[in-house]
Symmetry: D3
Subunit: 134 residues, 6 copies
């Protein structure tokens, strides 16, 4: 699938979002959707539609660049550990190397402080270790 | 100047940082340094040395990618308007287009909310307008 | 217009969002949309569609209750002064009294600290004064 | 007990706060107070007096409306998971339905981003499940 | 006035808080109180009573140490510029030197990032300059 | 070791930072360094050099005062629980009493809200209990 296809006018936002979420987050994204089923099923739809169907499917920035932005933002905010974990894995899925992700996280020390960078790095360490033992 | 040169072992961190700050932030960065002179001159040195001499000078990630990360983080945090302004200009200096910066800022709506994205977009609008009238 | 109508299946999300934004934020909301026109026109569409067409148009919570939530959140975050201003005015538009808005803002001292409450109260003071002199 | 009674001038702030905390947070609030006993017993007193004896006991806003504000603020801040849990339960105690609480949490996606809304929804899911199995 | 006196059991919290606010924040604190008069006069009372009558009046930590904590917290949070300004002046009132305040603010680069430290330092610069020209 | 020695011009920043980290954080700091070894060893070096070799080694503020600032900032931010734990222990190492640390944490209720203070106090309780059973 390419960015071009994601934006196909023939697809609904929901279809486009499902494709994008699957390409980017894989099983981890699906698990979030499943967990929403009994409490807020409409929110699962919004999650497909706006972040993935609208934003990630836009052609102006590559998925690799988008994940740099997302990993940086989530690490800097420091309030979204589960999502940071998913997007570190997503970064690997769309072409970032482990070293590039590590660079992004280290850089957050400058803007959000050493604790934000450290907590991000330890989250990455956990993701990298899980993947290498699968 | 290339990333390669920035890391030259012959340079001190301070020299490396001054080169990097100049390449990335240009006059806007220098203005921050100047403003620190009478209150915290040592902090100006740290600002050259750690963010620019240590982090930005590392070879593992391009300056363009680093500015994606910084713009995303500062917009998501929402507490660093003057620095966001400088780094939107810095992003243009190191190869990001206005449209790419706009994409990064719109994406922040997903992770930090619509106000963070809107405030970031209006900061970018101001920077773009200033530059186009110079 | 009622919540019921907003959700009319005959309307698109964009139409529904435009109606809702107009009802809730009035001119202040339109100004934000206008300001986006030259930098990120698509984002103006998203702003109509997701927050207003999807979320505010949902029937499970009154617009009055939704504005209590929004005013509380924006004041507690402390990073969204322009949006807080708009939503204090929006709160008045959908049935909150000045005193109720003041109560919500005072309560934020408990959860986000006295500075967050004070900054929120002074924003409200400014909005109330502007409205009373129109 | 009514708001009216809570403000009785005959009661001290401490008595009024104890009544309010008990009505709103029930056992969960008491557990927090108990846990403070050996490290900061005076802080337990302040917790009764200011948030509950002063703020929640004020007549200008119903307890139901106050809990909308608190749930929204805590979810948006993203740094107060234990307190969000307590206030989701408190919201149910003072008249909010599970669906209304879910609406408030979904709405936080607009103002604080999807991770804040998701983390809030999963906290609510946990509270709702615990209560339904008691 | 000493900490000892502040805690006099003969004084009400309000009286104790007024004395403490006057000693610590001086005219700047009084201006905040005055500005609250027409929007939330009860909140002015709470501001005297809880932060100043309860917390600052406690004997376990000197006012100088308390202002180190407050300046650090406000600079790190980055959402309370008006209050940071008042407490930098308050720090000078209760015995901190300009250099000590500058050290606290520089240290925030480690925990909250360079933008938080820079914004704090420029706030301090403004306060120091205003005071030196009075 | 004294502050004076830490700043010895004969030492490198790295040596100075290692001495300072050891004095301040002891084993807890070393554990963080060790955990970084396989993911970001350079970041361990930066952690010695900037926060400890540059900032904590400066003579203008005592280590005791510096830990007041750090504990306040980390508790107020609410996004750095592991680091707050380490610095509560560090505070005890450099001369703060348990009661003084408790005062700093209670005071954060004023600036960052009751949840920030409560979460900080419960972290302190855990540290104090661990130390008393060693």
């Amino acid at each position: 699938m390419t960015n071009e296809n994601q934006r196909s006018e023939q697809m609904t936002r929901l279809e486009r979002g499902k494709l994008a979420l699957n390409e980017i987050d894989g099983q981890a994204g699906q698990n979030v959707i499943d967990a929403l089923a009994d409490i807020a099923p409409d929110f699962a739809t919004y999650l497909f539609e706006f972040p993935f169907g609208d934003i990630y499917a836009r052609p102006g920035l590559s998925l690799r660049d988008r994940e740099i932005a997302t990993i940086a933002a989530l690490a800097a905010m420091g309030t979204a550990a589960p999502q940071l974990k998913i997007h570190i894995e997503a970064g690997l899925n769309v072409g970032l190397s482990k070293d590039e992700i590590t660079e992004v996280l280290m850089q957050m020390a400058v803007y959000a402080g050493f604790p934000a960078a450290l907590n991000g790095l330890f989250t990455a360490k956990e993701v990298f270790e899980t993947l290498s033992t699968e």
